[in-house]
């Protein structure tokens, strides 16, 4: 510990945490306004305050994209890497707000919005976390809000989902903490940069292994994915959309930093081979399981399992290009997935609606624009052109082949082949002429999700043609 410890936080420390702080404080502002506002304006006010706060945080982030600040004595690193991940979190949270204008009843919406913002700030903390304590803080902040949000729906399965999420996620946290304790025991430090120069030992490997198991749980990688479909199914639509992107973004940032910068060079390859194997399994099992799903939320849950597998595969071999392409694919996934969720929202009367795959039958003849948008997002998730999903896949394939993990590229192709069934099954349902009498045609009350659909479609298309991969993401520590 340096003498500088005595008088922190310095201005630089606070500046580094500013975006996450803005988001967290916005939650308080939203709650405060809720006390004063008349009942009729509660919903719109809460969402508006949150949107302004998020936009502010997004702008602050963008202004500091080129920075590389090591804050709080190495506990938090702000710079290109964390900025890009945080921007993804901010964008996903903004999109979540548009899906159904907040979550829950009118008198719940300020509270649920606050929880959403706190969760988002937890994820933003994770993106820059560079010691074990900050990582844990971020993960718990993210999860605590989500436990409540999952239970907010009035549906019977919601509480089951929330409880399942609480128990399994706590177990994952248990793995994480135990792993962290062992890592601390082996290295004498919680700082990731110290871990990287520790003499490898059994204790260290055990700690890293348990840590990675915890992370795999949070990322819902196979075989730690079984909680995901149930939780996604039970949670309100907007919360599911949020979880499917923000949780994954935050945890991927942690995994990436840990894999790239926190492992001693002698043991890194051996310790990480199981991670790449788990990623390969996720691509296969996630897509295979998605084949059998009839509920859109469950289907997207399993598809998310596979998609995260693709992103983790980009990190294989810890190549410099891999981070960039992984982030690119995460951005692509964010827009494709949120777009798909927005379409599902537009097809359901309220946030608790169950949207089965069968509801898509003949959609192209009833609502051609919606069907066109959904087709585009599904093509993207399936990795077909002209979408960012296609470009992202080719970049990931190139990096796996270049890093000497061609087998992972092969598995990716196999997984993608299976996923064609999953996604194009819905496209087929939309475009086959059917007897419309049996199809329920529900519509969302508002038109706001259309904004998300349009923005996501534009982003998926543009990113597909011009793959803007972030350039200054390395070094991950200092």
């Amino acid at each position: 510990m340096s003498p500088a410890t005595a008088n922190f936080p310095t201005a630089a420390d606070i500046g580094a945490l500013l975006p996450a702080t803005i988001v967290a404080l916005t939650a308080l502002v939203a709650l405060f306004f809720d006390l004063l506002a008349p009942a009729a304006t509660r919903r719109i006010l809460a969402v508006l305050v949150a949107a302004i706060g998020l936009a502010g945080a997004g702008i602050v982030l963008a202004l500091h994209y080129g920075d590389h600040t090591v804050a709080f004595d190495g506990a938090f690193v702000q710079g290109g890497f964390s900025t890009v991940f945080s921007e993804i979190v901010v964008i996903a949270t903004l999109a979540t707000l548009t899906l159904g204008l907040g979550v829950g009843r009118d008198d719940q919406v300020a509270g649920s919005t606050a929880l959403l913002l706190w969760s988002a700030s937890g994820a933003m903390l994770m993106t820059g976390a560079s010691n074990l304590l900050t990582i844990f803080l971020g993960i718990e902040l993210l999860s605590l809000g989500l436990y409540c949000l999952c239970a907010i729906s009035t549906r019977a399965t919601a509480r089951e989902a929330a409880l399942k999420y609480l128990i399994l996620s706590s177990m994952a946290s248990g793995f994480l903490v135990f792993g962290m304790a062992l890592l601390f025991g082996a290295s004498g430090s919680v700082s990731l940069s110290t871990l990287a120069v520790t003499q490898p030992s059994v204790l260290f490997s055990l700690g890293a292994g348990l840590f990675l198991v915890g992370i795999a749980f949070k990322l819902s990688l196979v075989p730690f994915h079984l909680w995901t479909p149930d939780v996604y199914e039970g949670a309100p639509l907007a919360v599911t959309a949020f979880m499917s992107v923000v949780t994954k973004a935050g945890t991927l940032a942690v995994l990436c930093r840990f894999a790239y910068a926190a492992l001693p060079a002698q043991t890194a390859t051996a310790l990480l081979v199981p991670v790449w194997t788990v990623a390969a399994l996720s691509m296969l099992v996630g897509n295979l399981a998605a084949l059998a799903q009839t509920d859109m939320k469950r289907l997207l849950a399993y598809s998310g399992v596979a998609q995260v597998g693709y992103i983790v595969a980009a990190f294989a071999g810890q190549s410099a290009a891999g981070v960039r392409y992984g982030i690119f694919y995460l951005a692509a996934y964010t827009f494709m997935n949120l777009g798909a969720f927005a379409v599902v929202v537009l097809m359901s009367r309220d946030a608790d609606a169950v949207v089965g795959v069968s509801r898509f039958a003949g959609l192209a003849y009833r609502r051609p624009w919606l069907a066109a948008a959904m087709t585009f997002f599904l093509l993207g998730l399936a990795g077909l052109p002209p979408t960012a999903g296609f470009t992202g896949k080719i970049l990931i394939l190139a990096t796996t082949v270049g890093a000497g993990y061609a087998w992972l590229g092969g598995v990716l192709i196999l997984g993608t082949a299976i996923s064609i069934y999953v996604y194009l099954k819905i496209v087929r349902a939309m475009f086959v002429r059917v007897d419309m009498a049996h199809v329920r045609d529900e519509r969302a009350p508002g038109a706001l999700p259309w904004v998300t659909v349009a923005v996501c479609a534009a982003a998926v298309f543009v990113l597909g043609l011009y793959p803007l991969t972030p350039s200054n993401v390395l070094p991950l520590l200092h």
Binding site: L384, L397, V401, Y421, L424, V427, R428, V432
Partner: protein, 482 residues
């Protein structure tokens, strides 16, 4: 500029048409026909249009949006414009606006496949061109009576071809990483860019995609259903142009960059090609569905082209190029004509059709020219292609293959004449309604294809010349700039 417009223009217009209000059917169709005609004129009048290239990726390998004419692709896109023009001119479908929109997207995507000079762009358009066909088959498919549920054939088409597209994608990524650039199609002197270690895997990826697309036995099972079910204008475009993408790939990617692997795979390809040739021909003899006769004859003919390419002989390669275009001409004309027959008689079953010639002399003439083109009548394009391929294969020392390949050519006369005879002559089916002869629109739709069939038959050199200037195939690369 011209080449960019050929790719972007139809796709963009397709989306605009899709966005038009319902009921704009006539306008949409007019636009579609005009676009196809314009494209045809633009290609025909400006054969030396310069390449267009915009940088795309810099890492992990160089890639560019690079489009331009090549010696074969020039004729293919010209053919495609004629096919789309003919297809849209006389088609009668419900929801014509959406149909036209999809057709234009299909045209743009297929132009992209053949004009792409960048491998990654090639792969992109390869996948893209599958989607409109899939959607067209779902929305306008014409399953034969008693067929399985709607969409089955579309599904099979998509799964097979996307599986091929994915191995193509993996091979492209590996190609890019190994060679450092994918902006290579048509580039001179690129031999040996791919080493021995990766070469075999990369070739396997490409070959799988190309063989599925062509298709060859035993990867062909998606094809007869697809061809039978697609509406005539679409199947004309798919069989005339899309199915050539694989063969084209072997010529512009396989021969110059994966020469060693191509040579190593030649015995296998010869077997696959010969099996396709014979199998397709024999099955075509027994089919009752008229469209399936043509589908299986396509399988047979494309097998011949495959043999031509893998004999590594300049004459055979010239023949392959000529036959790629020739087959496009007569199969497109054939599918369109059968479409007109089905429209009049509401069946395409050979058991029910018969005696149309008396009432429909012009329709009869159209089908006759097509059938003669397909069976290789001297003077028409099919003959030129077949002769060049067989001569080349023989000259390359594969006399036994040339001998075997003669058999299905004889059988071709059998099934094509059977098709023609059953539909046009013989006793008239009692339950067939009386219908009018070929309208001027339908005639105009077929005219460019039939004129092309004759012109190419007289002067195959126009298409073939590029290959004949190559001293040795597969050593210097064959796909020089036009």
């Amino acid at each position: 500029m011209t080449v960019t417009a050929l790719v972007i223009g139809p796709i963009l217009l397709g989306f605009i048409l899709y966005a038009l209000p319902k009921g704009a059917d006539g306008f949409a169709r007019g636009t579609g026909i005009a676009v196809a005609a314009l494209a045809f004129l633009a290609i025909a009048l400006k054969p030396d249009a310069p390449d267009a290239s915009v940088p795309w990726l810099a890492r992990p390998f160089t890639a560019a949006f690079h489009l331009g004419y090549g010696p074969i692709s020039y004729w293919v896109v010209l053919l495609l414009a004629a096919v789309i023009f003919g297809g849209l001119l006389a088609v009668r479908v419900p929801r014509a606006r959406e149909f036209t929109a999809q057709m234009l997207v299909l045209q743009g995507a297929m132009n992209g496949v053949f004009l792409a000079k960048d491998l990654l762009l090639f792969a992109l358009f390869w996948d893209l061109m599958l989607i409109p066909v899939f959607l067209l088959m779902l929305g306008w498919g014409m399953p034969a009576r008693g067929a399985r549920s709607r969409g089955t054939a579309a599904w099979r088409y998509l799964i097979y071809n996307v599986a091929g597209g994915l191995t193509l994608l993996l091979a492209t990524a590996a190609f890019g990483v190994v060679s450092g650039s994918t902006d290579v199609i048509g580039a001179a002197a690129a031999t040996g860019a791919i080493g021995e270690v990766w070469g075999a895997w990369i070739f396997a990826g490409f070959a799988f995609a190309f063989l599925v697309k062509t298709p060859v036995w035993p990867l062909h099972t998606w094809m007869p259903d697809t061809y039978a079910e697609l509406p005539p204008p679409v199947v004309a475009a798919v069989s005339a142009v899309q199915s050539k993408a694989g063969l084209y790939g072997f010529i512009v990617i396989g021969l110059p960059f994966l020469t060693t692997q191509m040579h190593a795979a030649a015995p296998l390809m010869f077997v696959l090609g010969l099996v396709a040739l014979l199998y397709g021909a024999f099955i075509a003899l027994t089919q009752d569905d008229a469209k399936r006769v043509l589908a299986y004859s396509s399988l047979s003919h494309l097998g011949l082209i495959l043999i031509g390419i893998f004999s590594f002989n300049p004459i055979a390669l010239a023949g392959a190029a000529v036959y790629i275009i020739a087959h496009g001409l007569f199969s497109a004309a054939g599918f369109l004509t059968l479409g007109y027959v089905e429209e009049r008689e509401e069946t395409r079953s050979l058991a029910h059709l018969g005696g149309l010639a008396a009432e429909n002399p012009r329709l009869c003439g159209a089908l006759l020219v097509t059938a003669l083109g397909a069976l290789g009548l001297p003077g028409l394009a099919g003959f030129a292609g077949e002769l060049l391929i067989l001569t080349g294969v023989y000259a390359a020392g594969f006399w036994w293959a040339a001998l075997v390949a003669l058999v299905p050519i004889v059988i071709a006369a059998g099934y094509m004449l059977r098709l023609f005879q059953t539909i046009m002559h013989g006793p008239k089916g009692a339950d067939l309604p009386e219908r009018h002869d070929l309208t001027w629109r339908e005639g105009l739709a077929l005219a460019p294809l039939i004129v092309g069939l004759v012109l190419l038959g007289i002067n195959p050199h126009a298409v073939a010349s590029f290959a004949l200037t190559q001293p040795t195939i597969g050593v210097t690369g064959v796909a020089g700039n036009r």
